[in-house]
């Protein structure tokens, strides 16, 4: 793809650009501790936490930047930030 002078791009680049690659720490959700309160989803600045049919929450690792806000806010300590090993 040729560059358009001026750095001009069409919308939806954020769908293509997987910003999860910027992450250093990864949130790991523990369903045994989760109370399904939804606070993690409310606070997530990327709005990338979704709910499954059993009301458990799951971050979208393609876009989670590992900021740790969900882990900080979780009242049940059900989210642990772990150093993410990358190839």
């Amino acid at each position: 793809m040729k560059l358009l002078p001026g750095g001009i791009v069409k919308p939806k680049t954020t769908v293509v650009n997987k910003t999860g690659a910027w992450r250093t720490f990864i949130p790991v959700f523990d369903e045994d501790k989760c109370k399904k309160c939804g606070i993690c989803e409310t606070f997530c600045p990327e709005d990338c936490i979704s709910i499954d049919e059993n009301e458990f929450r799951h971050p979208d690792y393609d876009f989670c930047k590992g900021c740790g806000i969900c882990a900080e806010e979780c009242p049940a300590d059900a989210i642990e930030m772990k150093y993410e090993e990358k190839e």
């Binding site: 560059l3 002078p5 001026g6 750095g7 001009i8 791009v9 069409k10 919308p11 680049t13």
Partner: protein, 390 residues
Amino acid sequence: MINEMQILEGSKAVALTVKSCRVDVISAYPITPQTHIVEDLAQMVADGETDAEYIKVESEFSALSTLIGASATGARTYSSTTSQGLALMFEVLFNASGMRLPIVMTTVNRSLSAPLSIWNDQQDSISVRDAGWIQFYAEDNQEACDLLPIAYKVAEDKDILLPAMCCMDGYILTHTFEPVEIPEQSLTDEFLPSYQPKYVLDPENPLTFGAYADPSIYTEFRYQQHDAMLKAYKKFEEVVREFEKVFGRRYGLVEEYKLEDAEIVLISMGSLVGTMKDVVDELRRDEEKVGILKIISYRPFPAEKIYKAIKDAKVVLVLEKDVSVGMEGGLLSDIKSFMYNREDRPSIFGFSIGLGGRDVTIGDIKGLVSRVKRREAEEFEFLNLRREVL
């Protein structure tokens, strides 16, 4: 076709020319000695003499930022500033050139604080040399006007798309009344077609300008700007030929004055050249082989034209109203840098002159020519330094 010669203040002549370029959006913040230009334009908008939008802002940073938005929608845009105002625009200058928006701005040349000075030198525009803007310098008010439609036509070309700065010396040009020809609107319309960019900001077809570029692609964007500036060299020559056909006045990237057999070549930019021409006329009467190379286009830099003009000279004197503190003048450095790898190299001397509005007289210039001839000049010096106060 009637082109009436009028006696106009430089600022008024520039404002009338901006109007004739059918500018869509003007945004500027008043600052001495640019004020008359934007006051005149504001008056024309208020009186309904032009359809342009005049967007009032609280700073020069906002003025240029406003024009970035306007230009991205496809509007033809204009601003004017000077000195501290240009310094405040620094960040935005790079955004305008990086987004490849052909904004045109009159930079009224004024010294930078501190110490506070409202008077003329060219430190402001020389200091933003690397911002990716085309830079032209006017010797007189006719040039300050004519370079505007030329700047729009070069800047808006689809292969160029760079912003352009038309520089004119504060007070010496802006506040001086001179005979100026403001062409008939029909002539300007014939020369300057409307701006039709390929990509525009439009809610129906959203785009992002100046998006994020990571290290894998940033270099290529910078190269595109560099390449466009090199292309602007040829484009300028094409555009001034068209300008001459329509308006009858001829311009070049440089102007040669009595250079044919010149052994001593004086180089400068802006209104100083007018005084230098009088000096050369006097010295020629005394059979001194002296000539002038005037630089109109500082960016794109006319390296080959300068080389051709000075290669057979014995000595070159670069006179400029700026200094890269601790080094030498900017124009001097640029000329010396490309001459280094050439075979024929005259001796090159540089002088910082007329800083902070100090008058430059015929005697000053004659004096430095004779000092260089007597081998008394240093490679670079501040001319007429008052050693008694140091």
